[in-house]
Amino acid sequence: MNMQYAAIETRDLSKRYEKVEALRGIDLTVNAGEMFALLGPNGAGKTTLFSILATLRKPSGGEARVMGFDVMRERAAVRQRMGIVFQEPALEQKLSVRDNLLLMGLFYGLSMKAARVRTGEIMETLGLTDIAARQAQKLSGGQKRRLELARSMVPNPDILFLDEATLGLDVDARRSFWAQVRQFVRSGRTVFFTTHYMEEAEVADRIALINEGRIIALGTPRELKDRIGGGVILLATEDDVRACAWLMQHGHKPEASERGIVLVSTEPAAVLPALLTTLPVKTLRAEVHEPSLEDVFLTLTGKGLDNGEAVPPKPALIMGGAR
């Protein structure tokens, strides 16, 4: 028995579909007991990585181990120790909440009696007892996702994979979902997750940013933000194209995003007033805030995380209609 293993360890992991190179050499170590987030835009390769770690797909090259077991050669051992919530729903729609969980118990080798007990426990912890008899297809979106989480916990896994598990849920439902997940991590187990909601990623112990099949940055949320230092100026002007052109001529590196013009600066509070007086385009709004993970990604790749729904952090300073 190797006691000192990482929860996840990949070496030069690659995956290509017929035409697409989805993963191009992923080296990643996730420690046991860590809550680890993988962030990246659509098509970055997140689900592909999850599928390989969860033994659903074969890598085209490289190696991966989960809880110390090789995902290719020791599949049964990996499967026994992990739970996963897929990006897409994976419930048996016609069956009740209870039967969905009960059957999973049987698939994990529990006896009928043990599966009943386990199902009862999980429904109790996740607050599904009241709706135990309801058909899966008749649940609300939040209840469905909670049932998926319950299903992934049936085998009492050491590691949980969550692939955009809270997609489409409202703030309350997401909060209660993550409360359950944190409970799980507190018991010393590992969670590896993706999300498009930045505030969910903030609570991770560490974050890896993935883009076009490569890990482009890795660290704690603090470390990642410190990489770009200072803060971020967000401008909305009457003519963003002209403003960008002017900024570039004057030695800045503006990025146009859906939030407006993003400008990373070591001393935003000092730079902004001067900018506002010299910019030849009328400014409609100007904000200064701490760099967000989104900004980190933007600086590193020149494009956004494509997280339409994420709320930007509270601005530290707002000037409306200034010139």
Partner: protein, 247 residues
């Protein structure tokens, strides 16, 4: 085998909730039996009563074939709905999934076929217990063969648009070639040869042997061929399930 029971349980729980499928699978063979029996039987040299007895095993075969393959086709929905993914990440041997699917399909196909047996006495067919058990045994083997055929095929497909094609281009020809509706012994030579490659022909022949005491193929040959089919097809299905989402 670990997981085998779970695969079968899942499918039976599902069938239980799917009343429409249960009822329609019962009605279809009855329709064939009486329409075909009365229509074709009127012009048959065997006479109406004898002809219905003759095609009874054929109709059993038809019912088993279509119910089994239809049950297997639900695997395609499984893939789309995603529940199969959840099953594939569970530590269940892929052989258990394949064998489980084959057996559950066979069970689902046997339900309406066994109900059809109630009509035996009404058709004037009285058989001893031994013969009846022989028929049941032949039905079980036939159901497993057809189910294996369905599972090996369905496991490969990701879209349901192929259903009608398979039904028209594969199942119907296999059924008509099988001698389910006419005696193979009197069929033209080329048809006899083709029938040797048709698992439905062996399965129907085995069931007819139990009912009417005459077979076209030697019984040992039918048993050997069907066992071969079942083993090969189940192995093929195992391989597809083993490749997970890469399939």
């Amino acid at each position: 085998m670990k997981g085998l029971f779970a695969v079968i349980m899942l499918d039976l729980k599902r069938l239980q909730t799917d009343r429409v499928r249960l009822i329609s699978s019962l009605i279809q063979p009855l329709l064939y039996l009486f329409v075909l029996g009365s229509g074709l039987g009127a012009s048959s040299v065997l006479g109406k009563g004898r002809y219905i007895q003759y095609i009874f095993p054929g109709v059993l075969g038809l019912s088993l074939l279509f119910s089994a393959v239809f049950a297997a086709m639900l695997i395609v929905f499984d893939r789309q709905i995603g529940f199969l993914k959840a099953v594939l990440v569970a530590p269940v041997p892929r052989t258990a999934i394949a064998i489980g699917k084959v057996l559950s399909g066979a069970i689902q196909a046997l339900v309406p076929a066994v109900v059809l047996l109630i009509f035996l006495p009404l058709l004037g067919m009285h058989m001893g217990w031994l013969r009846f058990l022989g028929l049941l045994g032949a039905m079980v083997i036939a159901a497993i063969t057809f189910s294996a055929l369905g599972v090996a095929t369905a496991a490969r497909f990701k879209s349901t648009t192929v259903f009608p094609i398979i039904s028209n281009a594969v199942l119907l020809p296999m059924f008509f070639l099988s001698g389910a509706l006419y005696p193979l012994a009197d069929a033209p030579h080329w048809l006899k040869i083709l029938a040797h490659f048709d698992p439905v022909a062996y399965a129907v022949d085995l069931m007819r042997g139990a009912v009417l005491d005459t077979t076209f193929f030697p019984v040992w040959l039918s048993l050997a061929v069907l066992t071969g089919f079942i083993t090969t097809l189940t192995w093929l299905a195992t391989r597809v399930f083993a490749s997970g989402e890469d399939a």
